[in-house]
Amino acid sequence: MSEDMDDDVAKKFLYVNRKAPYGTIYALESLEVVLIGAAFEQDVSLAFLDDGVYQLIDGQKTTGIGMKNFSPTYKALGDYEVTKLYVEKESLEERGLTVDDLMDIVYEDEDDDWEEKPSIRLVSRAEMAEIMADQDVVLSF
């Protein structure tokens, strides 16, 4: 691969989120990378599996623990053209969750007359493995 191609062609970046929010900072600092990374016009996807699915859960209220509720930021990702949030079905099931327990996250599709579409894409574990195998850069948090 030449240096030039390297710079010209967008790379596929996958951010892998496996940890619950608030107990550790990884979820928040992962999101900070995603937001900065959005400016680089790469092909960005986010994966939520294992305890990472809790990052997207609806109704997070953090005043009692004295920490900032950063969950609204996931809803703003569409504005940064981050529109592929892959959530693993098996991870939800093991945790007694369905996609209805997650936040409603949408984006406006510029290729489809700005129609509002869901950013969360439910995938099986096997599909998640395919998505992971289709990346150039995988960042794990």
Partner: protein, 130 residues
């Protein structure tokens, strides 16, 4: 009742310091005595005054320092753990020939014996970690 608190992780990365702070504050407000808060492992990183957290976030070092000032709380940072992680007071700075120090107000550096003493002198010891 006389309680002691052990904090094993640094601020922000793990919730341990937040939980320990909320617990300590609640105990003090209920009238319990906190014999000592001991910071061990990465917990020593709570005691640096060099942190600059985002303005819309809590500042854990300041929260601990303010709690110490209000309740005359003993915040002890383990000396051996602090040396590995770069937390220095004036004395440690001079002893190791370093060119600066970063200990925050209300924190002091002392030996591991202070943790054992806290276990002996307190009626309960509560640990917060990873």
């Amino acid at each position: 009742m006389k309680l002691a608190v052990l904090v094993n992780e640094g601020p922000y990365t793990h919730q341990a310091s937040d939980s320990a702070y909320q617990f300590t504050k609640a105990a003090l407000e209920k009238g319990h005595e906190i014999f000592r808060v001991f910071f061990y492992h990465d917990g020593v990183n709570n005691g640096t005054r060099f942190t600059v957290p985002p303005q819309d976030d809590r500042n854990l070092q300041v929260l601990w320092s303010e709690l110490a000032a209000k309740y005359n709380l003993d915040l002890t940072v383990c000396i051996a753990a602090a040396q590995r992680r770069g937390i220095l007071d004036e004395g440690e700075m001079k002893r190791h020939g370093k060119d600066g120090n970063n200990i925050a107000p209300g924190f002091r550096i002392s030996g591991l014996g202070q943790l054992i003493e806290a276990g002996i002198k307190s009626e309960r010891l509560v640990t917060f970690g990873d």
